[in-house]
């Protein structure tokens, strides 16, 4: 089953490699991984999307907690949470496609953030499946480049992950 795991860790050199090394050494999956400092610059917040049986996920959280740089670990999928991912897509926009691309971007609540006479760069935010849906909806041959951040997640309401 797919799980989204949030980690608070010391913002120190090498902390990321400790986490990624743990996943590869123990044979756990990483679907996506995002990390950046928090409002407290000494801490980083990492979101990992992974999959596995309940036993595997339990081991993943335990092994993560064992890392000396890791301060807190929460499996967001255990409760209500919100998940977002950002995607930048460069698409060909010439002729009749130009209007069509604009319309599709609007439907998906995307924004065109760069324009040339041949292409658009569209910014789109949402769950992973919404981003997938957009890519399916537009003409595949028009896609020049896609960049995705991987999912970030946060608990709903008073579910707060902080030190």
């Amino acid at each position: 089953m797919r799980h989204i795991v949030s980690i608070l860790l010391e913002n120190e050199a090498g902390a990321l490699s400790r986490v990624s090394g743990l996943f590869s050494a123990r044979g756990y999956n990483i679907e996506s991984l995002t990390v950046a400092p928090t409002e407290d610059a000494t801490l980083s917040r990492m979101t990992i999307v992974t999959s596995g049986s309940d036993e595997v996920i339990e081991q993943i959280t335990k092994q993560l907690n064992k890392l000396v740089d890791v301060v807190k670990v929460v499996d967001l999928s255990e409760g209500e949470h919100i998940e977002r991912e950002l995607m930048l897509v460069k698409v060909r926009a010439v002729g009749k496609d130009r209007e069509e691309m604009k319309r599709m971007a609007d439907i998906f609540r995307g924004r065109i953030i760069d324009v040339t006479d041949k292409d658009y760069t569209i910014e789109l935010t949402g769950t992973g499946s919404k981003l997938d849906a957009f890519l399916k909806a537009i003409d595949r041959t028009a896609i020049l480049e896609t960049v995705r951040t991987g999912a970030s997640g946060i608990g709903r309401g008073d579910r707060v992950l902080r030190v």
């Binding site: 050199a13 490699s17 036993e55 081991q59 092994q63 000396v68 740089d69």
Partner: protein, 565 residues
Amino acid sequence: MQLTGAEIFVRCLQQEGVEYVFGYPGGAVLFLYDELFKQNQVKHVLVRHEQGAIHAADGYARSTEKVGVALVTSGPGVTNAVTGIATAHMDSIPLVVITGQVPTHAIGQDAFQESDTVGITRPCVKHNFLVKDVKDLASTMKKAFYIASTGRPGPVVVDIPKDVTTHKTEFDYPDKVTMRSYNPVTKGHAGQIKKAIQVLMGAKRPMVYSGGGVILGNAAPQLARLVRLLGLPCTNTLMGLGGYPATDRQFLGMLGMHGTYEANMAMQHCDVLLAIGARFDDRVIGNPKHFFEQERTIIHIDIDPSSISKRVKVDVPIVGNVAEVLEDLLKQLEASKARPDADALKTWWTQIELWRGRDCLKYDRTSPIIKPQYVVQKLYEITGGDAYVTSDVGQHQMWAAQFYKFDQPRRWINSGGLGTMGFGLPAAMGVQLAHPDSQVACITGEASIQMCIQELSTCKQYRLPIKVVNLNNKYMGMVRQWQEFFHGNRYAESYMDALPDFVKLAESYGHIGMHIEKPEDVEPALKEAFSRKNDLVFMDFITDQTENVFPMVPGGKSLSEMILV
């Protein structure tokens, strides 16, 4: 007063009460060595290969309750040390390993003797640090000792670039450290302990299985009290030997791949299993699928939550320091009259005695060729069961574990998790330095001993009177055994051709060498060797080439599917 990084480094070791540093100098650590040279409090032991330095520090740590310390230079110094560090990591041994690094400005330039030490050691340490600023050096050293020795212990690497050892700052060694990201639990959950007692009281066929955690957590006294109070059978893992007195009637011997028949059968057929500081590894329970063919309730006490429910599902997990948890458990048990069903326990013991009657460790005592088991048995008798015994890896290790009865913890020193050949001799050096007046034996084989034999030179320099018991069957015995059982007697590359004359070799290092070929010479040889209190004696016992270790649970099989003699 401003001190250099090198001065600070030595002050930190002094503050930690470090007695010995095992190491090997090189370019990146010259300033550190210069400061060590100027003082007498911390003694340095010069090994002949960095792997030996780590194993020696490891042996020192295992046989004491202290942190072992090693110092190596950058690049090849580090890569040579990795085997030792990984060995300590697998067996949870507290070490602080200081590694030299090229100057900070040269990092990443592919400088001479540069290696990414933090990267290379990351998967085989509990934690590691690169000290980029001399201001962080003292606090990092403090953290290193704290992390290595608390919680589930393990090795910590501190990588110090050469320029940091010359930079100056105020020295202030912190009294203690607090880390928001590292707070090991020590006290067991009261509710879980209560639940564990209920389960134990309802047991008809209870069993205690304890591992290295009991040794590392200094919980042997509590374990013995518990086992005796409830009249339970007890087995130890390879790492846990000495955790419960081996000569006690309630001890069933070691369990696992080469465990006793009675221990493995009791493990497989018990209805309540109390696991203490052990991790259900593949050499202990075999295939988890077969392990669960019999139903049982499992209580598991361990300081590391990730050890619980990793390979087998546990019913009553208790996270905490094993000594503290057992103390809490005992307090409640001693205050109450509740005991497990005495009749059921009696029936269970009758069954166990039947299994024990199988005499699974028997071997041919009339053989005209020396049987390796006989050598270990005689070693046990002649040392009065009171020696520190280190071993290498293979058949001799298993015979040592089966035939030397350890009544005390920290006497049996071996590489259980990683299975590192070459461990025995350097580990014995650390043990002998920690216990200068004790008998120290290194049980080894002609293959293993050659992996770190250069340390015979270190033994001479520091006059370490280790007794090397070389069980020489001219084969990598355990490899040969597997080839005999599972590879159609095709002994691919397991024959040790062109062996040195070990007697001459020992003599050339300045030691005493003995060559023993007849069973009747075994006892006199051992007696003579141990009467030489100040000499290292290398005993080369020519043993039966075809002897195998029994019982044996073939890989992937159930504990009850043993190959017996």
